[in-house]
């Protein structure tokens, strides 16, 4: 598997987890979410618009996120997404699963490379 292809696969599996964890601390709008993902991954993970928003709407549909239009003085209104109670539970369980998965992978690769 070349680099790009494997990145696509990882992204698919982790996209929901990334978004949920980014809005855990405070509500954020779509552009902010995409920028944060790009910055924090050092440019290795990027979501373009055609994928990001459908994903946000999907999470909202599932009741994990709640989107709200917020108007601030002197600015255009923006849609902010915050984590719902259900979303919080999902995030916790996904995080646990992810950590276990990574730990498992690490144990295997470390053992092989030792």
């Amino acid at each position: 598997m070349d680099k790009t292809a494997s990145q696509v696969e990882w992204k698919k599996g982790s996209a929901e987890l990334l978004i949920l964890s980014l809005v855990e601390a405070r509500p954020r709008h779509g552009y902010e979410i995409s920028k944060l993902i790009e910055q924090r991954s050092g440019g290795t993970v990027r979501f373009h618009v055609a994928s990001l928003y459908p994903l946000l709407y999907r999470l909202e549909r599932r009741g994990w996120l709640l989107g709200r239009w917020v108007e601030k003085n002197g600015q255009r209104r923006r849609r902010y997404y915050r984590l719902t109670r259900q979303g919080r539970k999902v995030l916790a369980s996904q995080l646990r699963g992810w950590q276990e998965f990574v730990a498992g992978i690490n144990r295997i690769t470390e053992a092989e490379n030792a």
């Binding site: 373009h48 618009v49 055609a50 994928s51 459908p54 994903l55 709407y57 549909r61 255009r76």
Partner: protein, 902 residues
């Protein structure tokens, strides 16, 4: 800042989202792109490169729509109306109904046509279904009606249901020998004149019943007791009456028990009343009195008992038939049995809906075919109305678009449009039920005028009473009709394209697909009309065929039925007086000849027999018999093919007969029958054998049924046989009606003590024998005409609308030099194209319908392509008629006006 929204909206378009949702997504994504663009500019990108990089976020044309598809497809929410909770789906229904009523009031012409169309379609269906329901679907109010079967016998290959009448011996053999029936009961249908000291005489329907009749049917007494085995064994002079008889004649007075009444001159004592609601074995001939089947009845011979069986559980009708047929044969093979019955075959039919009566036998098939035909008519009405609603809906696109813009959900528009069509069909049904009641009444009266109905105290009321089943049927077809009519316009309304529809001068949002659908509806109407019109042609042709090729001349023939019963004349007196009467009648100016016979054609009854010709002792042929006086064939104008007529000389000599062509062919093959002998054995209701010398051969003529081929017939000499013929036939040169007075006078002079029972023209007698066929032809012609009319309306509506819609285009064409004829050609081509597609679809359907009808009605002239060819011609004419006005309008379009149009 670039405007991203058009790019985004273009990508969202395939999703067909609600405008509100579409706007929301576009706003959010546009904002994202704005942010990105600004950031890129701030990073030092040129405007062009920043624009391209931002736009690149949207990736491929269809990626956004693809990713959104599964998320958005079910995210379809009713907008919340102010002050209303969106969770209550029914909240807006009243509003929809009010709105629908307002729309209907706004265009009263359209509403009237729509309601009338539906009322005719639904009314016709309800009327026919009401009759079918009364005739064929009502189950008898007895225990387990589904297990009841009627036992009939019939001639081999006879399509008629048969006759329920068996000898006592056959009854006993079948009752005691079978393993398929839990009971075999005797229950006949008879007329009684019931009267008594405190009871005015009245003819009522009733029956002679066996001792187990009531027990097997599970009928309980309301008061008193019912007829039991002992009553039948003792032939007790007792009677049981129905609850309705008790109510109408005795006002529910319990003193009815023990009352002495007479039932057709037999004194009987009423011992009980049946439970409320029980009316015997037939839905049409409701019975009011039952007498025990007595020993005396057994002497009636071969038709002494009418039988009804109750199948054991798990036994099928074919199984029952197999066993009972064997037993029936055993009984008939006994030496003392009537050999005539040996020819008969057994038929077992379900009787849960009542035993077969002349009414059921006569009406079942026509009603089934009619039901299918009116079903087609309703479908046509639906297509018609759907087309009209669609065209009107297109005219309302602007209004609908405004509503969408103001936040109306598409689902809501869909519901509102459907509410309108459902309301139309509901009102149409109400009018239809009203029409159906009178139509069913009228139809029944017409049916009842047929010859089989005369004198039968048939309860036709049951045939026209709409019951719960009829109401459910009507409600169901009303709902179906509403949905069928409304579905297409509703879909089209809910797809209102706000952006395009709101543009000034827009083509009000009608898509090519919608136009094609509208044309398809018209083609479907043409196809259905073609089927209806060709079926109408078929049935009208059938009627004409029935009325002709009779083998005798039906015009200018007067028939007089005489009642010799109380005259006291013997055969010799009859012979002398009848000859005198014929002589005097012949002297009346205008009369060409007169004759007597035992039966006249199409009178109703007949005598049948099996005949053997000399030289062919092993071969018997089923033949019909008639007894006639000299000049019979001269009067009826049936041609002599060979030999001679009866004459006075025959009376002293050996028995002579004249046979028809079919009898000659069937009995003698290619041999010359003149001078040969023929022996009919066991003529119906008589026992003896008679051998006749054949003196003449005549052409074939219809005997009893117009819809059967002319049967082999033997004509014997009435005078020679010493019979009294009650049928007098008079051939006239002028209208026979004008001679009635003179005939009456002459008859009264010669036959002083013989009253005239009936006087009618042959044509009337023929018509009364084919009432169902006549009605059927008239109804199908009416339905065909209605179908064609609906097709005209549908086609006209669409074309007129198209011309209005294309006024601008037509104006441009004329301005560019198109001639008026070119414009006309455009409209006509459109019309003919739709008609041709309709014909292409309809022709195979019509052929199929013809075959289906032929499988139900024997002798239908299906070979002739004339009805379909005629129907095709009519539909093309219909197309041209419908196109005429719109085409003329198109030709008169003024280009200057048209270009300013809109």
């Amino acid at each position: 800042m670039p405007d991203w929204k058009p790019e985004i909206l273009r990508r969202l378009a395939p999703l067909k989202l609600s405008p509100a949702r579409e706007g929301e997504i576009a706003e959010e994504i546009a904002q994202h792109l704005d942010d990105q663009y600004e950031e890129l500019l701030a990073d030092g990108h040129s405007a062009d490169s920043a624009f391209r990089a931002s736009l690149d976020e949207l990736k491929d044309e269809d990626l956004l729509a693809r990713n959104l598809w599964s998320v958005e497809s079910d995210l379809y929410r009713e907008p919340i109306a102010l002050g209303n909770s969106s969770s209550n789906w029914f909240a807006g229904i009243l509003q929809d109904i009010r709105y629908a009523f307002r729309m209907m009031r706004k265009s009263p012409g359209f509403t009237a046509v729509a309601i009338l169309t539906l009322a005719l379609g639904i009314g016709a269906n309800t009327a026919i279904f009401t009759m079918m329901n009364g005739l064929m679907l009502h189950t008898l109010p007895v225990r387990d009606p589904g297990q009841l079967v009627e036992i009939l016998h019939h001639y081999p290959d006879d399509p008629e249901p048969g006759f329920n009448g068996f000898s006592w011996d056959a009854y006993q053999t079948m009752r005691d020998g079978n393993h398929v029936l839990s009971d075999l009961i005797i229950g006949s249908l008879n007329n009684y004149v019931v009267g008594g000291p405190a009871l005015e005489s009245q003819t009522v329907f009733g029956g002679n019943v066996g001792g187990t009749y009531f027990e097997t049917l599970g009928v309980q007494p309301a008061i008193g007791r019912l007829i039991g085995p002992q009553d039948a064994m003792d032939s007790s002079p007792v009677a049981v009456v129905s609850w309705s008889f008790w109510k109408s004649r005795f006002n529910l007075n319990p003193a009815i028990i023990g009352q002495k009444v007479t039932a057709s001159d037999t004194p009987v004592t009423i011992i009980g009343v049946t439970q409320r609601g029980f009316y015997g074995l037939s839905n049409q001939a409701q019975q009011d009195i039952w007498l025990p089947y007595s020993l005396g009845h057994r002497a009636l011979g071969d038709f002494a008992v009418a039988l009804l069986g109750r199948l054991k559980s798990g036994v099928t009708i074919p199984q029952a038939r197999a066993e009972l047929a064997t037993l029936f044969k055993t009984a008939n093979d006994r030496p003392n049995a009537n050999p005539f019955m040996r020819q008969m075959e057994l038929r077992i039919v379900p009787a849960g809906n009542g035993v077969s009566t002349p009414v059921t036998q006569m009406l079942s098939t026509p009603l089934t075919v009619l039901m299918a035909t009116v079903g087609l008519l309703l479908l046509l009405a639906c297509a018609n109305l759907a087309g009209l609603l669609l065209a009107r809906g297109a005219a309302r696109q602007h209004e609908l678009a405004v509503r969408v813009c103001l936040g109306a959900a598409r689902a809501r528009l869909l519901r509102q449009t459907l509410t309108e069509s459902l309301l139309l069909s509901l009102i149409g049904s109400a009018v239809g039920i009203f029409l159906a009641y009178f139509a069913a009444d009228r139809l029944i009266r017409l049916f009842a005028s047929g010859r089989f109905m005369m004198g039968l105290p048939v309860h036709f009321d049951v045939l026209k009473q709409p019951d719960a089943r009829v109401l459910i049927f009507t409600a169901a077809i009303a709902l179906l009709t509403g949905l069928l009519c409304g579905a297409a316009p509703a879909m089209s309304a809910s797809n209102a394209m706000p952006a395009s529809a709101l543009l000034p001068g827009s083509k009000i949002g009608e898509t090519k697909r919608q136009r094609l659908f509208g044309k398809g509806l018209v083609a479907a109407q043409v196809a259905i009309s073609l089927v209806l019109v060709s079926l109408a042609g078929l049935f009208v042709g059938y009627l004409a065929q029935l009325r002709n090729n009779l083998g005798f001349e039906r015009n200018n023939l007067l028939l007089v039925t005489l009642d010799f019963a109380k005259s006291g004349y013997n055969a010799a007196q009859f012979s002398r007086l009848s000859q005198e009467l014929v002589m005097r009648l012949n002297a009346i100016p205008g009369v060409t000849s007169a004759t007597f016979s035992e039966m006249s054609p199409m009178e109703g009854p007949g005598a049948a027999s099996f005949a053997a010709a000399d030289g062919h002792p092993d071969k018997t042929t089923a033949v019909w018999m008639n007894y006639i006086a000299p000049s019979y064939f001269e009067t009826y104008l049936t041609p002599f093919l060979a030999g001679r007529d009866f004459s006075a000389r025959d009376q002293a000599g050996s028995r002579v007969a004249i046979i028809n062509e079919s009898a000659a062919r069937n009995c003698f093959g290619n041999e010359n029958p003149i001078g040969r002998h023929i022996t009919p054995s066991h003529i119906t209701m008589t026992e003896g054998e008679k051998t006749f010398e054949i003196v003449g051969i005549v052409g074939d003529a219809k005997y009893k049924d117009l819809n059967q081929p002319a049967p082999p017939t033997i004509y014997a000499d009435l005078i020679q046989e010493g019979f009294i013929g009650s049928q007098l036939a008079i051939r006239t040169r002028i209208d026979p009606g004008g001679l009635a007075g003179a005939v009456r006078q002459t008859e009264a002079t010669v036959l002083k003590s013989v009253p005239i029972v009936r006087m009618m023209e042959m044509n009337q007698q023929i018509d009364s024998s084919i009432v169902p066929q006549r009605l059927f032809a008239a109804l199908s012609a009416g339905l065909g005409a209605l179908g064609a009319l609906l097709a005209v309306i549908g086609l006209y509506g669409l074309l007129a609308y198209t011309v209005v819609w294309r006024t601008h285009e037509i104006g441009v064409r004329i301005a560019l030099g198109a001639a008026a004829t070119d414009v006309m050609r455009i409209v006509l081509r459109d019309a003919l194209w739709m008609v041709c597609v309709g014909l292409a679809i309809g022709a195979p359907l019509a052929f199929w319908g013809k075959r289906l009808a032929a499988s139900l009605i024997p002798d239908l002239p299906v070979a002739s392509p004339l009805p379909i060819v005629l129907a095709v011609a009519i539909m093309i004419a219909v197309g041209l008629i419908a196109a005429y006005l719109p085409a003329r309008r198109a030709m008169r379009v003024d280009p200057m006006v048209a270009l300013r149009y809109e």
